[in-house]
Amino acid sequence: MSDIQFRNGQREVRDIHVPTWGERFERAKAASIDALQELYKSKTAFIGGMMLVVLVVILLLTPVLTSQNPIKANYGALLKPPSADYIMGTDRYGRDIFTRVLWGGRRLVVIAFAAVVFGLSLGIPYGVLSGYYGGLADSVAMRVVDGLLAFPGILLYLLIVTLAREWHLEGFWNDLILVFALGFAFFPEVARLARGSVLTEKQKEYVEASHAVGEANLYIALRQILPNCMSPLIVNATVRLGYVILIIAALSFLGLGTPPPTPDWGADLSAARDHMETNPLIAVFPGLAICYTVLAFNLFGDGLRDILDPRLSDR
């Protein structure tokens, strides 16, 4: 590749060194090692990270770890206590709880991840452009965000999920609506956060320099300012993953998330309540699974904040 420059009115062509794939790989490797070392230094992030690795490995290996069917009833083994055959016991349809926890986890983590990505992809451009252009558009955009933030806790999800139920959306479409609801409720927070960082960032000199060179506004906002605003967003998204998992579990617990017989931690917990007096352990395992997963994301997010935002690390 070559770069064309003008000097003394003369056109001069100079070669620019374009990194080869090998060099890029080396650089990426060095950067990852740096990042891992940083992670290792923060105990919280390291522990959270390890918990997440364990979680992902277990969920990926689900078909290997258990050969039972998570949905098919087995009336020969109703409500069995934990044993060698059934590590966590069986539920009221004789289904292996361990198997249901694993399959439920796969689904839950995928939905949570999709929801957070959706929220980010909606909120980041919204917040960045709003903060970058400012003025009336910004005011209007931010009032919309304020209005959406006024829905406390799970109420916005309740509205959307109720609508989905009334339209009789099932299976994949139901999951899609769940992703939409969770992502949509996350978007105002992202937008506000992104806007805040952009407001500080756009005062800086490099932005002025880019303006002087005549770069397009959209290019400056999305390719130059945005990368510098990513760290709080990444931290927020990590913590949000844990929160989204809690919300999904709460919705299913209320019977508004996934319809049975799909394995789902919240729904399984809710079903377990009917057998709590005779079989208290059924209610324990899905709950522990939720705690473990959410704690992993929270620890990792907390540690990440310490690393990415050193000002706060002493707190």
Binding site: V144, G147, A150, P152, L155, L158, L159, F253
Partner: protein, 316 residues
């Protein structure tokens, strides 16, 4: 302060507008005809009756007119009638608000009792085992789903030990002793989760305060460490803590849907949940709108309170 207050109140208007539009759209986005939803299939089969009903409900008018009319009614407290009980929705909601407020206030009280000492000790003993223990505990507290915590409490205290009733409600004015028995488990479930947040908050605002110069001055004047910390630092650190706890009251109100349902607590959260189960749309709509408005108003009050408590903010 007056100008600020007026300004803040004016800021509420667009927020309330967005809130009401979303809630209004909810009704519009329901499948089928509003008439079917509101009246039931049998009565609305005759086209003539239908047209009459359309006119009566104003459904023949453009959507923004419908919105304006609806807002007008809402401002007078007319949220329509419940499809199940046929009573005005406003009554249903008014009846359920005291129980929710009772639970929320006791819950916040419990969380403060746990969080303020824990957070300040963690800050004073920063980076020691005590601090890490407090931090880990509060992180775990945030990660435990409240409904699971609630179920585990019921399991332990009502089913296993048999000390407390597993669900139900009694007004404190009827029988205070019984009322408290019913209250303990739900309030603990609300309070512990809240305590986890508040501990982190207290800790970080204590650390902020402890790095300030007046603390050094107080120490150099020979005040005892206890006095410096508990009389001066903690007092100042409480300002942001209380403010943000106030803001979290809003989130708690949203969270009550799950807890009230578990404990059969007759508050606004359970009312909304039952309405969703029964497909009582006017009640869902009004319930969510009312909770949203409460949140907006609480946020405003907390904001104003913060300025009163901390006049320095005004200078920034």
């Amino acid at each position: 302060m007056l100008i600020y207050t007026i300004n803040r109140i004016l800021h509420m208007i667009p927020v309330l507008f967005v809130l009401t539009v979303v809630v209004f759209l909810f009704m519009q986005l329901l499948p089928g005809d509003v008439i079917d939803t509101l009246v039931g299939d049998e009565e609305a089969e005759d086209p003539a009756t239908r047209a009459l009903l359309m006119k009566e409900y104003g459904l023949d008018q453009p959507i923004y007119v419908q919105y304006a009319k609806w807002i007008g009614k809402v401002m007078q407290g007319d949220f329509g009638k419940s499809l199940i009980t046929r009573r005005p929705v406003a009554f249903e909601l008014l009846e359920s608000i005291p129980a929710t407020v009772y639970l929320a206030i006791v819950g916040i009280g419990i969380s403060m009792l746990i969080a303020v000492p824990l957070g300040s000790i963690a800050a004073v003993k920063r980076n020691t085992a005590t601090d890490y223990a407090a931090q880990v505990t509060s992180l775990i507290g945030i990660s435990i789903p409240e409904f699971w915590f609630a179920i585990m409490c019921v399991l332990l205290f009502s089913l296993y030990l048999g000390w407390l009733p597993s669900s139900g409600y009694m007004s404190p004015f009827e029988d205070l002793g019984q009322s408290i028995k019913y209250l303990i488990l739900p309030a603990a479930a609300v309070g512990f989760r809240q305590a986890a947040y508040t501990t982190r908050l207290t800790r970080s605002s204590m650390l902020d305060e402890m790095n300030k110069e007046y603390v050094d001055t107080a120490r150099s004047l020979g005040f005892s460490e206890t006095k410096v910390i508990y009389k001066y630092t903690l007092r100042n650190a409480m300002i942001p803590t209380i403010t943000i706890s106030g803001l979290q009251l809003a989130n708690m109100l949203g969270g009550t849907v799950v807890l009230e349902t578990i404990f059969a607590w007759p508050g606004i959260g359970q009312a909304i949940y039952m309405a969703i189960v029964d497909r009582d749309y006017p009640l869902i709509q009004a319930g969510i709108l009312v909770l949203g408005i409460i949140v907006v108003v609480v946020n405003l009050l907390v904001d104003l309170l913060y300025r009163v408590l901390n006049p320095r903010v005004a200078l920034n």
